[in-house]
Subunit: 415 residues, 2 copies
């Protein structure tokens, strides 16, 4: 199997100010092609460390992907060091220079010296045009190893990887056939699912792997098969996925690698229905997830964040008496919130959340992590109580996913 | 200077399904102590690769922090491999076992065999108690190098690092004095700030570094000084920070490393004022940012997400005529949205956003990235138009930060 290494360059990674999302993106894309990422390594803007990493990684891998160190405020060390490693010298690339000038004209900002330097590249590289920014990508080949150096800005790196690097890798290497199949479950913990799948996993052929990808109340199960014959492998993985499906069917959300909000979006579009949200403890996070999907205006009319009790009464029509008798975090209150927002925004469905996210606000009867969720179609309303633990951020994410999943199940049940 | 290496273990990092946020957290905390992270490396659940990484990293660094590979569904390879590296054997730790049993009792779930195995540790380690989960941390010393092995769950890793690992590192190593000072700016680009700071940077003494930490319309500037005498270094960094402040004062948000929503939260609390939001294009993301801060209910009454025009009219009181004449993405509409939500939620201030986030919905007059933002105190209302580019996710984040910053400046101006 062809192995790759990812080198990310930048002091910002070593002082911990930047979370490295690029490596995950690159690894995902390489995996889809059947390239195994053996290691990922992050180093600072330092000549010796860059040379050292290029040396060690190219000994074990046929592909070395480098990101970062090419921005306008970078310490100008990556490109000279690449020149040293590849025995090259820096020259201005006319295409890249035109691109820098074009971008600055378009955004109507003055072009300064340090931006012009972005058009310089080592003369031993093939320039990969960057349609989304000023720093071009670079492709090198040396002693049977290929190297791609990409800017660190995620949006730019992603464009270059998809449009230039992956097609060139496909051309360059004889890849095995590779087939992935993801089953997406929600509402059951990782360990519990693992227990159910012990026998299934033991019976998997050696060329098929099962990966568990858990996050906030969801677990994605990904089967990956490698082989020589694409069509035969597809059939084999499809049969295995059916076996897996029959074990986890009770918690199955989708047979693809999407998010819970995408699954709900698809379901609402398919049924031509609309949704509104009334959020207390989740503070707008559910609406944010729903509206992060392009085209969500077709299914989402809007929402109310009723943080103050007064807003629950005046905007959502929750009865003052309900709040006084049962409190804001109660079954009765979320029912009135969900029904109120559905009425007010004139939607098919409504969902509501109220809970105590922490760190403060807990009581012995309603400790931190207590959450009530309601889903309604205006006439029938279902509720559920959850008891999470963890910190505020996790509680908000767990509540949002639980609510999205309840809504989905409510619609699927024919309500 | 004491150097550290961070090794993260897990196939999920190499298939790209997990974004490694742990390394950034660990790097930040080590840096605060004056420990320089030389490299970060991610490897799979494979004996040879783990041994190889432990070998190479311990050659160059005095501290090796290892995360991951300890969960209940891990392939049981990290602990046996640590045993091999440290010439140890696995034994049950009674304290860790009690902790596993206690956690399962508390969450009321059946304890299964694979959870019990989490209490096994190499007999050459000092056990670091995990108060947040089942897998204990482990501390090793060998030939002058210290190693800490921590679980990969961020919440658990963070607790162990802060409560156990950092105090032990401080005990173990003679650290230099280290002083950080962060100035937080918003509204000015990274390259433009860098241009203003050329002379300042050139005049910095060699033991002081300036780091640029940009994200979505904000740039944090962090001065880090290293020296022998804490008090003298503090005075020096303080004087340099004052010089820096005088150059960037126009865009200065805070003299500490906080978020824009924290800065706004503090300002509102200090003035004893309240806020409501009316979001169209940001879809609840601004409210989410505000409510992600514990205790935000003191300053935030709530918000309306008016995705559909009908909701702008019925809930926020935007005039139908305004929408027809100027469109949803217009100065007139955001003014009425901001004033409407302020009135309705009875707050001191209101803010509103309306724009086209993409990828669809743009027109020649209002291309993708067109955004109107309004801030109001109920009588005076200020507006600003922005033209972003990039993708949907970036546009939402840029709009949210621009709105939070406008609100902050509006309050600071005495409105």
């Amino acid at each position: 199997v062809v192995q790759a290494s990812i080198i990310t360059i930048g002091d910002e990674l070593l002082i911990g100010q930047t979370v490295d999302t690029n490596s995950a993106f690159i690894a995902q894309e390489l995996n889809k092609l059947g390239i195994w990422v053996k290691r990922r390594i992050a180093i600072g803007d330092k000549r010796e460390d860059i040379l050292d990493a290029l040396g060690t990684e190219s000994k074990e891998c046929k592909i070395v992907i480098i990101t970062g160190g090419l921005g306008p405020t970078a310490d100008d060390i990556t490109k000279p060091t690449l020149c040293e490693f590849f025995d090259a010298k820096l020259v201005v690339d006319e295409g890249a220079l035109e691109n820098v000038k074009y971008i600055f004209t378009r955004i109507n900002r003055p072009l300064i010296e340090r931006n012009l330097k972005q058009a310089e590249v080592p003369d031993k590289c093939i320039v990969l045009p960057n349609l989304r920014g000023t720093a071009p990508g670079m492709w090198f080949e040396k002693e049977g190893i290929v190297y791609a150096s990409l800017p660190g800005v995620p949006h730019e790196m992603e464009g270059l990887l998809i449009n230039s690097v992956l097609p060139k890798l496909k051309e360059h290497f004889q890849m095995p056939a590779i087939v992935h199949k993801t089953l997406f479950t929600a509402g059951k913990g990782e360990s519990e699912i693992a227990e159910l799948l012990v026998e299934f996993e033991n019976n998997l052929p050696v060329h098929v792997k099962l990966a568990y990808l858990p996050s906030y109340g969801m677990v994605k199960l990904r089967l990956t098969g490698k082989g020589n014959e694409q069509h035969q492998l597809e059939e084999e993985i499809s049969a295995l996925a059916n076996g897996l499906k029959s074990i986890v069917k009770e918690w199955l959300v989708a047979e693809e690698d999407i998010s819970l909000q995408e699954a709900l979006n698809k379901l609402l579009k398919q049924e031509n229905k609309t949704l509104a949200t009334a959020e207390s403890c989740t503070g707008g996070f559910i609406a944010h997830l729903i509206t992060s999907i392009p085209g969500s205006s077709a299914i989402f009319n809007g929402g109310v964040i009723s943080y103050a009790n007064e807003v629950k009464v005046s905007v959502l029509g929750v009865k003052r008496n309900t709040l006084e008798q049962f409190g804001a975090v109660s079954e009765q209150t979320v029912i009135e919130m969900a029904e109120g927002v559905t009425r007010q925004m004139n939607t098919t469905y409504g969902l509501a959340t109220s809970g105590i996210m922490g760190p403060d606000g807990g009581t012995p009867e309603k400790p931190v992590g207590t959450v009530w969720i309601a889903v309604t179609n205006g006439s029938l309303t279902k509720t559920q109580k959850f008891q999470f633990r963890f910190d505020r951020k996790r509680n908000i994410q767990l509540t949002a996913n639980a609510a999205l999943n309840m809504m989905r199940l409510f619609i699927l049940a024919g309500n």
